[in-house]
């Protein structure tokens, strides 16, 4: 399989599964409102947005690889911070 197609599929998958888990987390937050659940929902939406932003950046805007890597790293760093805080709060 072509590497471009695999990358395309991977980012589409990240966006879709991130959004599905984001929706689930929002449903969980509505049922059991807490700071932790809000942070978890935020984390999953970050993943979904990362999938969309990097996917679109790769195939439409023509951004170069280092720029996209930096964007991706920024999203992942933000995600880790959010999940770390979610683990700490009660």
């Amino acid at each position: 399989m072509d590497l471009t197609a695999i990358t395309n599929l991977a980012f589409a998958g990240i966006a879709v599964f991130g959004a599905v888990l984001g929706v689930l987390a929002i449903a969980a937050w509505r049922r059991a409102p807490s700071r932790r659940m809000a942070l978890v929902a935020g984390g999953f939406w970050l993943i979904a947005i990362q999938g969309v932003v990097v996917g679109v950046g790769l195939f439409t805007t023509g951004l170069d690889a280092p720029t996209l890597l930096a964007i991706s790293a920024a999203f992942e760093a933000a995600l880790l911070v959010v999940l770390f805080v979610a683990t700490l709060v009660r």
Partner: protein
Amino acid sequence: MPAEERRGTWAETLLSFVQRYPGVHLREIRRRLSIPIGTLDYHLYRLGKEGLITVRFSGGYKCAYPAVVEEIGGPIPDQDQQLLALLRQSVPRALLLHVYLDGASAPSGLAADLATTPQNLSYFLRRLETVGVILREGTGSERRVRLVDPKRVHTLLLRFPPLPEDVVDRFIRFWSELHP
């Protein structure tokens, strides 16, 4: 996604759900059965009039009970109805299970173990004390919470199963159980 499948008419589905999970509150019934609120109100009124279901307020919730439980051979006693309404909520259920399994426990440890706030714990301890299930003894660091009648709790927990978990419940449990 409804956790319970609808078999037969709304009235039959509602009655069998309430018989299986007595003490369940109306919002939960609506969510689990995906039943429109108007339809739910209508059938609860009708089943109540036919003497098959009773509805009562408990802790701000409108809870439904079967008029007769086969195993008991009559209605659920008043004190047990109040306790069942509490057992349908996650914190008091977890609290009772914890004290039942671990014996007398310190309230401070309970709040941490149940991942809840001291205010929330104190609210449910007060309510459980009111229905005569738990007893708070001692003062200060010697303060302990214990069950008044562990056999009663054991019987109720066995006789009336908890509502089945759906995917959102599992999600909540998974993320709520994370501790640093």
